[in-house]
């Protein structure tokens, strides 16, 4: 009797050990550039240390597509995915399905930027750990600007003029494929980011203000959208209305654009060996509208969150903490030119030497403008979709900026009803 009991205990503990050892973490992540290949490298130390394995499940790079899929999985209580890579704007919408990391992260939260930790805290629960932050840059071709004696533009008007000048000159010289400025004009979350920058840098507010009021229908915002619409077909190809990040980078990295608006990930890739613009470009903060206005960069960034439905929660939390750790953030900075969320890494000597954009980006990121995900709460996606639709309509010539923003204001007012919830 005793023997069988002992045997049984032994077997159970053995099973527990093997199951702990054999835990496999399924991690979903959207892919841009080399991110997925680099991730395989990044997770190796954690796999070696804990004996667990990580399966990386790649997703489309469009954050709108990713969100739709994650939403579906989480609503269905899917236990196949343990750890999600989440966009900075998702926390309020997904919070109910995610594990509270406050306790696990108690020792390290202090080293991260407080504003980012705050953005991932919903009703006192820390639902995701930041792994990198994002603020876009204006990429410009140093060789072409020097050739035409132009300086780096600080206002949108300067950018328009310089882009036109270089584009006309290069085309006359036989480069028929060159374009002045490429950006993200497809109707998706990325257009909300681009357009928020135009509007904010024209002094047109940020769609929905932190107090919940709807500010989008104003003269400055109308001027900002009219200007952007004037680029389509002149300094930007008409196809820009279907571009996301990767399409814009495709045109840029083959040497066919003078300026590009994109996130820092394109910096490292642009300096890769297969890039036609290697060593021929630099980055600057996005332009402003001139006197009395300031440059605006939309705050992006990614986090890792543990699903409430994960059967391996302990391992999953350990993995999430590993992904947010200083060592990994440094590695990502060097590999993918991702901006760290840990303050001390901005003074890191290796990063400063290899990816000089990062220390320079601290200021840009500290002044970045958040999308209205906090005031709009559960309705953020609908707010964003209404906004990007109004912008996309304006850019493609369906209605004027004034008409579309007036309609947008009415739609947002309907959506808000008695108050955002």
């Amino acid at each position: 009797m005793k023997l069988t009991k002992a045997l049984a205990t032994l077997m159970i503990s053995a099973a527990a050990i093997t199951s702990a050892q054999a835990a496999n973490i399924n991690f979903v992540s959207g892919a841009t550039g080399n991110a997925i290949a680099n991730l395989q490298e990044i997770v190796k130390p954690w796999e070696a240390e804990t004996g667990n394995t990580v399966t990386i499940v790649p997703m489309p790079s469009s954050t709108t597509d990713q969100f739709g899929q994650y939403r579906l999985w989480l609503a269905a209580g899917n236990s196949d995915i343990d750890v999600y890579q989440t966009d900075v704007i998702w926390a309020p919408q997904l919070a109910d399905n995610l594990v509270d990391l406050t306790e696990a992260a108690a020792d390290v939260v202090g080293s991260h930027f407080p504003s980012i930790i705050e953005s991932q805290t919903v009703n006192g629960r820390l639902v995701a750990m930041p792994i990198f932050t994002d603020a876009p840059a204006l990429y410009y071709r140093t060789d072409l600007l020097a050739k035409y004696g132009a300086s780096v533009p600080t206002t949108w008007a300067e950018l328009t003029a310089t882009a036109q000048l270089v584009q006309d000159g290069e085309r006359a010289a036989g480069n028929a494929d060159i374009w002045g400025f490429v950006w993200q004009g497809n109707a998706y979350e990325g257009l909300t980011c681009d357009a928020l920058e135009w509007v904010k840098s024209h002094g047109g507010g940020q769609i929905v203000e932190p107090d919940g009021s709807i500010s989008i229908n104003n003269a400055n915002a109308i001027a900002a959208l009219e200007q952007a619409a004037s680029w389509v077909g002149t300094i930007s190809p008409e196809g820009v209305l279907a571009y996301q990040e990767e399409e814009a980078r495709g045109v840029w990295q083959t040497g066919n654009a003078v300026f590009m608006r994109n996130w820092p990930y394109a910096y490292g890739l642009g300096n890769g060996d297969d890039s036609a613009v290697k060593g021929l470009f630099d980055v600057a903060p996005l332009p402003s509208a001139g006197e009395g206005t300031a440059s605006a960069a939309t705050l992006g960034g990614w986090n890792v969150a543990v699903s409430k439905y994960s059967p391996n929660q302990e391992a999953a939390i350990s993995f999430a903490m590993f992904m947010a750790s200083e060592a990994v953030q440094k590695q990502r900075a060097l590999l993918d030119s991702n901006l760290p969320t840990i303050i001390s890494l901005y003074d890191d000597a290796d990063i400063a030497a290899q990816v000089p954009i990062i220390p320079r980006w601290k200021e840009v990121f500290l002044n970045a403008v958040p999308r209205p995900s906090a005031p709009a709460q559960q309705s953020y996606n609908e707010v964003s979709s209404l906004f990007w639709s109004a912008v996309h309509d304006t850019l493609s010539g369906t209605g004027t900026a004034a008409e579309n923003l007036e309609n947008l204001e009415a739609d947002l007012t309907d959506l808000r009803g008695d108050g955002w919830k």
């Binding site: 739709g68 939403r71 008409e238 196809g239 279907a242 996606n381 996309h392 493609s396």
Partner: protein, 327 residues
């Protein structure tokens, strides 16, 4: 087989008292049908019922079991504003919904018409005797065999404004003066979707038409040859009437597919209001905006529209889906 004929024969006879053997056969047939009925209920009936149920609640994706019954609020409701103005809300008062309905109808009508005509033409060619016919028949099916997502992505690249080969070819031939952003421009987005859909589904139509063509007895054609009837007359007086039953069934299949078009548009022109269809907009509401109930109401309306269409089509076109004429 004999059991089912017995069932349909029994009521026609009009005699409630049939032989014990016959009743036994009917009972046996019921037992054989039961698994199929169960499978249909689980796979089609239950989800349909749930969707209709959700459409009368205010369920959100965050809490699928916490919705309250709200009657027709998701379909149509009216509220008097403090100013005295009446405000209509709900799907039936939503301009985005009617835009999607119009897009779907436009897409279905144009794509199915073109596919039916092209499919019949291809089938006529394949029905003729020529060398290598087997190979051509197999080759023509390739577009149908490629998964829609893959072909949509492939066409997305081919239609790209900067490095797409279609723009390159048209430029070289001199048909266009500058590259056109086919999928981005609202004027050409629907055209791009139609071209890809026609490319993809014409083989399917051709295959169904070919099956119909091969049912036509050869001797009719031999007789027309002897009488010296003009080939065009042969087509309109003999081939078309005889292939009509097969063609009508092919069109109904395609129409059902076209009315619920989703994958091609979702990949090729996502979020373009020029191509958003009923399925696209209902998915968007259900998952992107977590208005699960509102999206369910739109799905239910889509289901109703397809059901009404099928009933009208079968009734007006006297389509013989059950093959009764032959009995």
């Amino acid at each position: 087989m004999s059991a089912t004929t017995q069932i349909s024969a029994a009521p026609r006879a009009g005699k409630p008292a049939t032989s014990e053997l016959q009743r036994q056969r009917v009972r046996a047939a019921m037992w054989f049908l039961l698994p199929m009925i169960m499978a249909l209920f689980v796979a089609a009936g239950w989800p349909l019922f749930r969707t209709i149920y959700f459409s009368f609640t205010n369920t959100s994706l965050n809490d699928l079991y916490g919705g309250d019954w709200v009657w027709f609020k998701n379909y149509l409701s009216v509220r008097e504003l403090p100013s005295g103005r009446l405000r209509w809300s709900g799907t039936l008062a939503d301009p985005k919904w009617w835009n999607a309905v119009w897009n779907t109808v436009k897409f279905s009508a144009v794509s199915v018409t073109i596919e039916a005509i092209l499919g019949l033409m291809v089938a006529l060619v394949l029905n003729a005797e020529f060398k290598g016919r087997g190979l051509v028949r197999a080759a023509i099916l390739i577009p149908w065999a490629i998964p829609t997502i893959v072909s949509a992505k492939m066409w997305g690249w081919m239609l790209n404004d900067q490095f797409g080969m279609i723009n390159d070819m048209l430029l070289n031939v001199g048909l266009i003066e500058q590259r056109i952003a086919w999928t981005a421009n609202p004027d050409t987005a629907m055209l791009a979707v139609l071209v890809v859909d026609v490319w993809k589904t014409t083989p399917f139509m051709a295959l169904l038409c070919l099956a119909g063509l091969q049912m036509i007895p050869r001797d009719i054609y031999e007789a027309t040859k002897i009488d010296g009837v003009h080939p065009v007359k042969v087509f309109f007086k003999i081939t078309l009437p005889l292939v009509r039953p097969a063609l009508m069934v092919a069109i109904i299949f395609r129409m059902l597919d076209a009315l619920r078009i989703f994958d091609l548009i979702y990949v090729l022109t996502p979020n373009s209001s020029a191509t958003k269809t009923m399925s696209i907009i209902s998915r968007e509401n259900m998952f992107d905006f977590s208005n699960f109930a509102y999206g369910s109401a739109q799905s239910t309306l889509l289901f109703l529209m397809i059901a009404i269409f099928v009933v009208l089509y079968i009734w007006l076109g006297k389509v013989d889906l059950g093959g009764k004429e032959k009995n």
